[in-house]
Amino acid sequence: MTNNMHRCAVCQTNRAQVIRPKNGQKICKSCFLEVFELEVHTTIVENNIFPTRGERVAIGASGGKDSTVLAATLKTLNERYDYGVEFVLLSIDEGIHGYRDDSLETVKRNAIQYEMELCIVGYDSLYGWTMDKVVEKVGRKGNCTYCGVFRRQALDRGAKQLNISHILTGHNADDIAETVLMNFLRGDLPRLGRCAEVMTASPTSTMRRSKPLKYAYEKEIVLYAHYRELDYFSTECVYSPEAFRGNARSLLKELEKIRPSSVLDIVRSGEQLVHDTTGPIRLSCEETKDLRPVGSGQIGDIRPMGVKRHSPVTVPQTAQEIPHQPADGSRVQAIGVCGKCGYMSSQPICKACVLVESLNRSNAPVEVSFAGDQALH
């Protein structure tokens, strides 16, 4: 009796070592690794993540568990199922001492272990600000906004340097479920519609972004890394974690206790919302969102942007990027070019430039009146 209870539910021979959070199945180590890889493979095949052979694809690598598992699994799967793609590790150096410098060492080791090319892009060189300096300026509250905006653009720019147009990120099922909950809680309808997609081609970016680990539980990723003895870096960012996400995260953890499939169920619900936001008939709210500025009295606001939008000539290289829209052609957000850096943006000036500008601006007066400030305090 007890013998039977500890047998793996898949191969029926080995001792069960893992309880799968998705369905409570008790399976052995080797079956777990196989099932995990097969699921990632299914996600890749069903979503046609690698449509063309010979493509070079970037893996956003932080050195953490998710991206390390992503790189390791993809290397295995690429060899096993012959996707015929070449992977490049792309890392962002936010300039956080005691966190990123250490994790980048891990990525460098990974690059050797998986025989992948590595490219590191620094905030320092892109924006003239490291996160350490940003935090010094804006404090620990809200610095994640800067980091998030910068990272998104930095990944794109890094990929462009490598002449790559497809980035894979290590977002797992827990991340996506949290995001779905979070977007509900903060009422972000447009993001709610796309956060659960496996593949996104955002209008503000020419990059395709895919999340092959979308259906993988965080717990299983940790287990996978543990069983394959992967070399990863497991320290949290030294700056305050996103408070709002923490809220959603603790809620999700509680739900997972009740019904372990909840994480997956939320992802599924999120997908259904996607289906309807990007379907052939657009959501009425999206249409009104586009029409509102014209109808209401904010025309003064919208005009200069409209002018920018129709003059991509200013930055020739981005001209051919503008028609690059999702294949189903459903999203109607206007794409323009940032007036400062020439990067794609839905606004006259891209968010990163706005943030950098605000950093630089708040920098200047302080420096000028430095002596006076000191006298005051």
Partner: protein, 448 residues
């Protein structure tokens, strides 16, 4: 300098006076701060009633209307239910006073779930008696939840319209003919065995909630009520939205939370408290001294008793309600409800036509999110399985079935039970999740 001081004084004077008086009527001292406004008792009650009256447009007294509309009010005997009952009573009395007649009659229904959930049936009876004594214009009625096994059976016999895909009971004829007490006991046995087959308390409560709603709608059909009033507050609805998302019913959100008809009936659902928070309704009950007409107390509302269960045995709805009861999160409920209300399903009619309704919850079926995207991608079997969903009914297209190409089985780990391979075409994701491992179930209602 002197000038500045004078200006400041002038500016300060009326504000100081206003602080002691209600912001709206400027007559009485304020008793509650509501959305940054200090209001007196009367103005607050007016505010609550105004929010309610907005939803009563179809039920205003009309000059040429001949018939009196029948409304069903579902009550749990909780705070919001009693508040809605009180306001509806006030609204109707006002119509009678002003127009000498009322546009509608109200039939108050309480679903007794004590047989399956525990709790004191006596307390509920006493509360109902008190309500009957106070609200004399309304008709009251208590229906046990298990009655759904009898009610829909007899209804199905009376006015059955070619039902597709629903489970028809073999024993309906016997239960309707046998004596009522015997019918109750057999139906209770059926309900209990249905609940016992489910794998968690969360799933049980999910199905109980679905059954309750469906029973209420069946009663409304039987009593030919044209609208059903629910006292769901904004706080409650926010919890509902996230709970349904968590259960995997994101596809049906518009149906779940919007007012209007249900896919399986013509009765309109109305939630007149959808813009009021739970705390506002609680204050209303306090100001109107209605606590004795509910089965809860002010203390219990202020400090909700911790569920005596293990964290694992909580239900998804309970966790969500607790989340929004938390003071730090209450303000988020507006976002959730408004966002969910904006979700629209442009192809919903098409979807109902193509995919049919879920046999359990009666809401439109979901479509495998990959099906559409996959139309361009050739993956053997998968597309065919997805498209076979249009043939609603137990054909159970067995090509592949639980086979290798079923993404539900592989990615979501949602294998259909043995012998029920066509389940994916009849039961939505959320209901398949809640009934996972239950085997063949005896479901009392069908979609007509």
């Amino acid at each position: 300098m002197e000038f500045e001081v004078t200006m400041a004084d002038i500016a300060r004077l009326p504000r100081a006076a206003a602080q002691n008086l209600c912001k709206r009527c400027k007559l009485n001292p304020p008793e509650i701060t509501m959305r940054h406004e200090a209001l007196c008792r009367d103005c607050f009650i007016i505010y609550i009633r105004t929010k309610f009256t907005r939803h009563m447009e179809p039920y205003r007294v009309k000059k040429h209307s001949q018939t009196t509309k029948k409304l069903l009010l579902a009550t749990s005997l909780g705070v919001s239910s009693t508040a809605l009952l009180d306001i509806l009573h006030w609204h109707r009395a006002l119509q009678v006073e002003r127009a000498r007649r009322s546009e509608y009659d109200v039939y108050v229904v309480h679903i007794d779930q004590t047989a399956v959930l525990g709790g004191d049936s006596e307390v509920e009876d006493q509360c109902l008696e008190r309500l009957r004594g106070k609200y004399t214009q309304f008709e009251f009625c208590k229906v046990p939840l298990e009655e759904i096994y009898n009610l829909s059976g007899s209804l199905a016999v009376e006015e059955m319209v070619a039902s597709t895909g629903g489970i028809t009971l073999d024993s309906t004829s016997t239960s309707t003919t046998s004596s009522s007490s015997a019918a109750t006991s057999t139906s209770l046995t059926k309900l209990r065995s249905l609940l016992a087959s489910l794998n968690s308390r969360a799933s049980q409560m999910d199905l109980i909630n679905i059954l309750r709603t469906r029973l209420i709608i069946e009663i409304a059909k039987q009593r030919s009520c044209e609208a059903i009033f629910f006292a769901d507050s904004m706080t409650k609805m926010a919890a509902m939205v996230l709970a349904e998302v968590t259960k995997g019913r994101g596809h049906a959100l518009p149906w779940l939370i919007s007012d209007g008809p249900t896919p399986y009936g013509t009765q309109t659902l109305v939630r007149p408290f959808r813009e009021l928070s739970k705390s506002e309704i609680t204050s209303f009950i306090t100001f109107s001294s209605l606590w004795e007409y509910t089965t809860t107390t002010l203390e219990a509302t202020k400090n909700p008793p911790k569920p005596p269960l293990k964290a694992k045995n909580q239900t998804i709805d309970e966790v969500m309600e607790k989340f929004f009861d938390d003071f730090a999160n209450t303000h988020l409920s507006t976002n959730v409800v408004k966002t969910a209300a904006k979700l629209e399903f442009a192809d919903d009619r098409d979807r109902v036509f193509r995919l049919g309704l879920c046999e359990i919850c009666g809401l439109p079926m979901d479509e495998d999110p990959r099906v559409r995207k996959l139309k361009n991608v050739k993956v053997e079997g998968e597309v065919v399985v997805g498209e076979a969903g249009s043939s609603n009914g137990g054909s159970g297209s067995s090509n592949g079935g639980s086979g290798v190409n079923d993404a539900d089985a592989r990615i979501y780990c949602l294998e259909p039970p043995v012998g029920e391979e066509g389940l994916k075409q009849r039961r939505c994701y959320g209901c398949r999740r809640s009934t996972l491992g239950a085997g063949r179930i005896d479901w009392p209602v069908n979609n007509r």
